[in-house]
Symmetry: none
Subunit: 208 residues, 4 copies
Amino acid sequence: MGSRERRAREKKNRKEQILDAARKLLLKDGLAMTSVNRIAKKAELSVGTIYFYFAGKEDVFAELQREGLEILYGEILSKTENTDSPEKKLTDCARIYLHFSEKHSDYFDVINYFLSQPRIVFSNGVKKSIDEQGAKILKHMEQIVVEGVRGNLFTESRPGNFAGFFWASIHGLVQVKKLRGTVIESENFTDFYMYGVNQLIQSIRRNQ
Amino acid sequence: MGSRERRAREKKNRKEQILDAARKLLLKDGLAMTSVNRIAKKAELSVGTIYFYFAGKEDVFAELQREGLEILYGEILSKTENTDSPEKKLTDCARIYLHFSEKHSDYFDVINYFLSQPRIVFSNGVKKSIDEQGAKILKHMEQIVVEGVRGNLFTESRPGNFAGFFWASIHGLVQVKKLRGTVIESENFTDFYMYGVNQLIQSIRRNQ
Amino acid sequence: MGSRERRAREKKNRKEQILDAARKLLLKDGLAMTSVNRIAKKAELSVGTIYFYFAGKEDVFAELQREGLEILYGEILSKTENTDSPEKKLTDCARIYLHFSEKHSDYFDVINYFLSQPRIVFSNGVKKSIDEQGAKILKHMEQIVVEGVRGNLFTESRPGNFAGFFWASIHGLVQVKKLRGTVIESENFTDFYMYGVNQLIQSIRRNQ
Amino acid sequence: MGSRERRAREKKNRKEQILDAARKLLLKDGLAMTSVNRIAKKAELSVGTIYFYFAGKEDVFAELQREGLEILYGEILSKTENTDSPEKKLTDCARIYLHFSEKHSDYFDVINYFLSQPRIVFSNGVKKSIDEQGAKILKHMEQIVVEGVRGNLFTESRPGNFAGFFWASIHGLVQVKKLRGTVIESENFTDFYMYGVNQLIQSIRRNQ
DNA sequence: GATGAATGAGCCTTCATTCAT
DNA sequence: GATGAATGAAGGCTCATTCAT
């Protein structure tokens, strides 16, 4: 009775152990250097064990992506509940996304990896859980837009579209960060970023 | 004298020869499968020769990126010169970018590669020429905005910022394409994309 | 008592269950891809269980070989009982062997595997049962020869030898199938095969 | 001038060096244990170097097969030129084949490997040179049969077919060697083998 | 009886890069 | 200028087998 539970717990732990190692490597050496062999070494497990718990390399990363999205969702949720203003909420979302890309650059790189990679095939379950996690975030943003529309602050007939657009845009903005000072003239990236965010909101702001 | 010219021409040819091979491989097998050894085989040159003309693998890709940006610039230029309306011009830029990402997906992948890759060190000259090429595109967009402002259609005090923001956004939008139908609800991506583009323009449109 | 029976039956079932899985994999993916782990997964059993019922991987295959030989024996038996002519009986044996190698290519591959593999150690019982199964087939052929000799159709003082020789030869012929059109000139393999079989019989045919 | 020659010679030597190692491993540990990594280690070369000279693992083995067939051909040629009797020549061919399978068991295993392996794809050139080598052997046997027919010793209208059949049969006989004492009753394998060979010849021997 | 987690050596192959010629 | 042989670490992954529970 207790045995089965313990088994399950241990299994959970092993997975966590592997993901911990992967996360650390990701943060330290970047995605390209995070191979299964190195994860195994870092986790003090055998390669075989990694493959016992994960279908493959991409599977590990996929799990990390899910994790990252979960964290992001949590942060967005907690930081936007104390505000009434939908506009401020959206701004906060964007601010959090930038902050997330800096503080959790490991997770962000993974998200970016899957977004940039030409073609990756997921086992169905994995894909679904990632999509769900991502959808939750977009749903939340959509909800903020709906609030704003109800409060006569925003004018937008397709809040779902806007949410997707909003996220895609701030993702693009974050990605462009490394070009500051050259292609992107502004040396102060945060300024530039917040300028962009403001424009995005401006595009649905109801004119008085 | 004539000899020196021939030398220079041959050298130019060699570089072109290498880039041709790289381009073909890129187009056929994608970025991941385009290794120096394969380029050499395709170009019917020795690996050593590649390294004589290029500092390394990334250097070859960088050159391709410059090429890609050049093509993109050319397309933008030619497609936006027949219009007067700045708004239409911007819309066309966006349309071209999407089209470019589809038709020249090889080049687009390279651009994406350098944008997503955490940290790459370029030899100075290469970086400069890429930046210049990229800057030219942004400068062109900036100019369109300036036109719009002059014509009292747009209201924007920092057209340079807007150009950067505009490009970052449409890049993000294009990247998000593969999520259509899941995270991005809209199944018709072009609709979604053009919706976003419209929002972007809306954000600087002067209210009547 | 009843319990013991059930035990035995379940045990039998487990073995069957494992062999079923192995057989399916063999048929679907070939011998090389049929690993213990995959068998376990297919059989919905744990790897450990496989090792409880079988000494190892080779043991499973050995059992399949026995099975294959059993099937072969059955087919030979049933197809040769309606004929009187010993010559026709031998021809039929050969025909069946070729057919078997095509229709039951999975089983044939296993037989071939053990025949080609330099050195494999079997647990004694397994080896014995295989040998018995194989011997039964040869015994049957030998019997046909004896018949022929009695009927004054064949002349052969060592029918056991001939049976072994006959089988070895047709096995060699079947194996050589993949060389048709190159090393083996004849494009029509069945023609070539039946030519060989006829020669074999010719070698014991009594001259009139 | 001399440099190019030396290059070519060294290249030849390297290939030989690799094949030497492969051959040794093959003889010592068998085919299954002869991996590219082990070949490299044995040859005191890097893995990469193996792949510089051979397209892959199968390519190395293919070359060995060609080598083996060449040796076999040489032996057959030299041992059958001092005889006049076609019958003795055929018997000698068979004797040599058995001897070859024992003395050059490494080469024989490779031949057997390619014959038993369900499906192997060769680069075209390799396949061709193997086939040619094999065909040469069969052609030689065919010639012997033709001689016999001319000398009124054999009666055979399709000597090409017989050559293929002859080789397939003796190959099958050799393969069955490991079953001596069980399925193959005869404990003295050479007796059994020569019995078979005699039968084969008997099948084309003209009756007096 | 049965489980399934764990091992880790081993598989084939590709890679960017160097350097003597 | 150009060659191409050589490197060897690293890649992802599979394997038969063991063993504590």
